[in-house]
């Protein structure tokens, strides 16, 4: 628990915001279907009504409750996205690490397969495949998105594995008699964990974007309620033309916010994984001045003299000014 608290404290602000936002949507996905006020498909006589106490997000043309639809939609969309994320990450780590670590013919074959999948044109293939596959549940979408998503990560992870495999500590652990699987699991993978995490987050982002886009053009099961199908029905029933903003804004906003949270999380993870960024972030502020890593060594006296009249007046009240006054020096 203590180490978890430590990790949280060390997270950059943007990652914290990202985690908070994503956590909110995951929570909504978990408890949403339990607390939703109506059956999202149930039709009521109250059609096309604006948000009210009865229907917080308003209703559709068929009188379905939009809040219930969005809550179900968040769950389905996140389920799909995380499923694709897990599958793609596992496959790309397997392929990337294997091909780089084994080398030789394995590398040639796996790289060839990766490259073939890389040049498949994704959008036409998605449309064609989804048109043929049966439209039951989300499994076809998950399969197709995973099939097209893994080569990118595999390439990056292969390159990184090649770079790490050449380092001395891998040779050293082989010299000490470690087995290959142990080297891969305990020496290699931990060094790539930030890359893998970033690739996972990116894939989730890609899956959300792609699935919403596919649903929006009606290529998935339009009778289930995902964020994309809500938008599909809003479009089909010309919500925009009848100025029914409550129909598409909640779902669109949910997609945008989930996307934002993933991007924030990603760049935060990047910072966490790069020690140099991390080391300078904690100390970037000295005596109230922001110091950039490219600046010359800061001089405390100069920084303090540079504060300006108003700034030094405020500073004289701060806890840090008292710490700097004592001979033992202050902590941050």
């Amino acid at each position: 628990m203590k180490s978890l608290a430590n990790i949280w404290r060390n997270l950059p602000l943007k990652a914290k915001v990202g985690v908070g936002l994503l956590g909110f949507f995951i929570l909504a996905a978990i408890i949403g279907p339990m607390v939703q006020p109506y059956d999202p498909s149930a039709q009521t006589p109250l059609t096309m009504s604006a948000p009210s106490a009865q229907h917080w997000f308003g209703t559709t043309q068929e009188g379905q409750d939009i809040l219930s639809q969005v809550l179900t939609g968040i769950r389905l969309t996140l389920e799909l996205a995380f499923a694709v994320g897990v599958i793609v990450t596992v496959v790309s780590v397997l392929v990337g690490v294997t091909s780089a670590f084994l080398g030789g013919i394995w590398d040639d074959v796996l790289s060839l397969i990766t490259n073939v999948f890389l040049v498949l044109p994704p959008l036409p293939l998605l449309i064609v495949l989804l048109g043929y596959l049966s439209q039951q549940g989300q499994t076809p979408t998950i399969i197709v998105l995973s099939l097209l998503g893994w080569p990118w990560g595999a390439r990056v992870i292969r390159a990184q594995t090649l770079a790490i495999r050449g380092r001395d500590f891998i040779d050293a652990s082989r010299e000490t008699g470690e087995k290959s699987w142990r080297i891969i699991l305990f020496e290699l993978i931990p060094n790539e964990i930030s890359l893998i995490a970033a690739s996972f987050v990116n894939t989730v982002l890609y899956a959300i974007g792609a699935s919403v886009a596919l649903a929006f053009v009606g290529l998935t099961n339009v009778n289930s309620w995902s964020l994309g199908t809500i938008l599909f029905w809003a479009q089909t029933d010309s919500a925009l033309q009848s100025a029914a903003w409550w129909w598409f804004v909640p779902a669109g906003l949910a997609v945008a916010l989930i996307g934002t949270s993933l991007v924030l999380l990603n760049s935060g993870l990047d910072e966490l994984g790069s020690p140099r960024l991390r080391a300078t972030r904690g100390t970037a502020k000295v005596a109230g001045h922001r110091i950039w890593p490219t600046d010359p060594t800061p001089v405390l006296a100069v920084l303090q003299a540079d504060r300006g009249r108003f700034g030094s007046f405020l500073y004289s009240f701060s806890r840090r000014s008292m710490l700097e006054g004592n001979a033992a020096g202050g902590d941050l």
Binding site: A279, T280, G282, T283, A284, V286, I291, P293, D295, P296, T297, P298, V299, L300, A301, V302, G329, G330, D331, L332
Partner: protein
């Protein structure tokens, strides 16, 4: 000899979550024109931090917490007031760096870009600081290689095509590219074998004689400094423990730590004797204890040591006597931070065992 770089009461700390790490504390060191000053101490004693802090090359979390650094190069001051390095901004520092104060970095292996030819790297240094035509710059690069004893045709070589010693020479040539007044050498010979080491040191001395720059030579090898340096400063745990002419330091080391260092390598001449190391490890620089940082490892330590203020003074003549602070102190005087032990005591054979 006129002072060219004056480091006065400089303190550098690294900020960390566990509190400041006081890597350099109240160090005063003067470099005179045309002089070789050796800075020695064990790993982590703050010698590199001192040199890079004084030239403001350290990145945050490093922070200069006190003191001043003044530079008196002719081209910058033009006979007027010395330039204060600690108040300079980016642009002013860029003018000083390399042109005035050049640095030979620790490992030539990493300081040279492996994918660029030697020529391009030297030309980079030249064109960044001097206004020369392409042809002149190339000619200058060739002369520089001549200077450090590498054949001109090696200009088109890549770093991996040179030996370790040659790479180190290329680094020295680059440092000399714009005729600097001060050259800081950070353990330039550490990774080399003794024969190449001697070659390079001889070359440095020769170049210094002809070009007239001052050298701040950082190393952990005191024996090397005894041969090379005019003056030596001994650092320990961020403090300057002793400074003085190399000969004086060798003849009668005033600080027990210096004595310990001198005892830990054999001399080529004189009778065989048992080598004595210094037991223990350096202290944690985060929470500095009052008094001398060497107390835990010092066989002379007495309770009064915790009240020593670590300022440099001429060595005490008799045990426990107040140091004579009235006499004139010049940059060349032999000074020690230890008022407890007299040089005679420290020189006794085997006292540190």
């Amino acid at each position: 000899m006129a002072p060219i770089l004056e480091i006065d009461d400089l303190s550098v700390a690294y900020r960390s979550e566990g509190g400041d790490v006081h890597a350099v504390e109240h160090v005063t060191l003067t470099l005179n024109a045309g002089e070789v000053v050796g800075l020695c101490g064990e790993s982590g004693s703050g010698k590199s931090t001192l040199a890079y802090g004084a030239t403001r090359l350290l990145r945050p979390p490093a922070l200069i917490t006190g003191g001043s650094v003044r530079y008196r190069g002719r081209r910058i001051t033009q006979g007027g007031d010395p330039a204060d390095i600690l108040t300079m901004n980016h642009r002013e520092l860029a003018r000083i760096r390399w042109r005035e104060v050049a640095i030979v970095f620790q490992s030539a292996m990493n300081a040279l870009n492996p994918v660029l030819r030697v020529q391009d790297q030297i030309l980079d240094a030249i064109t960044a600081h001097l206004k020369l035509s392409k042809h002149e710059a190339r000619e200058k690069a060739a002369t520089l290689l001549d200077l450090v004893g590498i054949p001109r045709d090696r200009l088109r070589a890549f770093p991996h095509e040179l030996s370790g010693g040659m790479r180190q020479r290329v680094m020295i040539a680059m440092a000399l590219a714009s005729d600097p007044e001060v050259v800081i050498m950070d353990e330039p010979t550490t990774a080399l074998d003794v024969v190449v080491q001697r070659d390079i040191l001889a070359q440095i001395v020769e170049l210094k004689e002809t070009l007239g720059f001052a050298v701040l030579f950082i190393t952990h090898d005191l024996s090397l400094l005894l041969e090379l340096a005019d003056r030596i400063a001994v650092m320990y745990a961020g403090r300057l423990l002793e400074t003085g002419a190399a000969s004086a330091l060798m003849r009668e080391p005033a600080h027990p730590y210096t004595r310990g260092l001198l005892n830990s390598f054999p001399s080529l001449h004189g009778p065989r004797r048992e080598l004595v190391g210094i037991p223990g490890t350096p202290p944690d620089l985060r929470d500095t204890l009052p008094g001398c940082p060497f107390i835990p490892r010092c066989s002379f330590a007495i309770p009064a040591c915790t009240e020593v203020d670590m300022s440099l003074a001429p060595p005490a003549a008799t045990p426990g006597a107040e140091p004579d602070r009235t006499g004139p102190i010049t940059t060349g005087s032999h000074l020690t931070a230890c008022p407890i032990v007299t040089p005679e005591e420290a020189s006794q054979e085997g006292v540190l065992s």
